[in-house]
């Protein structure tokens, strides 16, 4: 059983299990949308006169922040007790493409040449980690949601606004992948 759980889960197992989070959170009284937590953390930690961050984050956001803490703990469980013995197996075409644009480290959840403290000190690493993170925080709040809030919750609720946001997600992702990454790596 543990062997079955610790191997990588195929899409037709992981996908439906992911979708179930929407009704689970609605049943609990919340709603699936992770990026809102970034706003709650700002509201909780940064003294500001800005109305955007002046609300009672405890009554509005403590449930979601607790959920986010759970996600970290879930990562701990998945990365230790359920750790996969094998590296993430990606397609040969992707490996070849990434090698061609200059990636040298494969294996793990993210390439160590970038996503490590040494990587952070390089220009590509700084742009990808700090610049990329900034865009994630800025863009999700601007769009009012991320992959969970728009692509899953929003599309499931048939929201045209979410479809527009998801098209944006992909447009941005394609731009980064095909035009920015080759310049950085």
């Amino acid at each position: 059983m543990l062997e079955l759980l610790s191997g990588p889960w195929p899409w037709y197992v992981a996908g439906p299990l992911l979708g179930l989070i929407v009704p689970l959170l609605l049943w609990a009284g919340g709603e699936f949308g992770v990026s809102e937590n970034l706003r709650h953390i700002c509201a909780a930690c940064l003294p500001t006169r800005n109305d955007f961050f002046r609300y009672d984050w405890k009554t509005r956001g403590l449930w979601n922040l607790t959920f986010a803490l759970g996600v970290v703990l879930g990562g701990v469980v998945a990365g230790t007790a359920l750790a996969s013995p094998d590296p993430v197996l990606i397609s040969d075409a992707t490996t070849a493409d990434l090698a061609a644009v200059g990636l040298t480290t494969f294996g793990g959840l993210a390439p160590t040449q970038i996503f490590s403290w040494e990587g952070l000190a390089t220009v590509p690493g700084f742009v990808m980690i700090v610049g990329g993170g900034f865009l994630v925080g800025f863009g999700t709040r601007y769009a009012g949601g991320c992959t969970s809030g728009h692509a899953i919750s929003g599309l499931a609720n048939l929201q045209p606004a979410s479809l527009l946001a998801v098209l944006g997600f992909f447009a941005g992702g394609l731009l980064s992948t095909w035009f920015i990454l080759p310049l950085l790596l």
């Binding site: 992911l18 449930w63 990562g75 769009a143 992948t177």
Partner: protein, 165 residues
């Protein structure tokens, strides 16, 4: 029942406020912690936290991520339809109301904000959920991604009055 949006200065502001004034009703925080752990495990074991998997997706070289998103949306959509048609209630007995996403006049915020997030998604290989899961998985530099994302959110909050929505 939702609390009013008294802390928001206007109706337009209210539409961008946190979607829930509070959790609708009383599931204890332990329930949210458990659902979060479930998400962290599914996200990690389904490999949607892998930078390489995200690259594979944006290069159209594997069905994996598309299958996950399509299956997740299908299950979520069927669940939401069931919740609406049966008028199901939360664990605490409140009606489940899902606030709509206001499209606005041209939907600027969705496609501009969405594109900016997409740029960052492909660079970091992580959307907000996986950022938390990756920290748990012991990739500590994603803590810097998180800090930077907080700075991004704060900057949006600051620039917000000047941005087209």
């Amino acid at each position: 029942m939702r609390h009013d949006e008294a802390t928001q200065p206007s109706a337009r502001e209210a539409s961008t406020g946190p979607t829930r004034a509070r959790p609708l009703s009383g599931a204890g925080l332990g329930v949210y912690l458990a659902i979060g752990m479930y998400f962290g495990i599914v996200a990690t074991k389904g490999e949607m936290v892998s930078w390489f998997r995200i690259q594979e997706m944006f290069r159209f070289q594997s069905f994996h991520m598309y299958g996950i998103i399509a299956a997740a949306v299908a299950v979520a959509m069927a669940s939401v339809a069931l919740i609406k048609s049966r008028r199901l209630r939360t664990v605490g007995g409140d009606a489940i109301v899902i606030p709509p996403k206001e499209l606005g006049e041209r939907g600027y915020r969705y496609w501009i904000g969405g594109t900016l997030f997409g740029l960052g998604w492909a660079l970091t290989g992580a959307c907000p959920g996986p950022i938390f899961a990756l920290i748990g998985n012991g990739v500590p530099v994603y803590g810097v991604v998180l800090l930077s994302a907080l700075l991004g959110t704060w900057s949006y909050g600051t620039l917000r009055p000047r941005l087209p929505h």
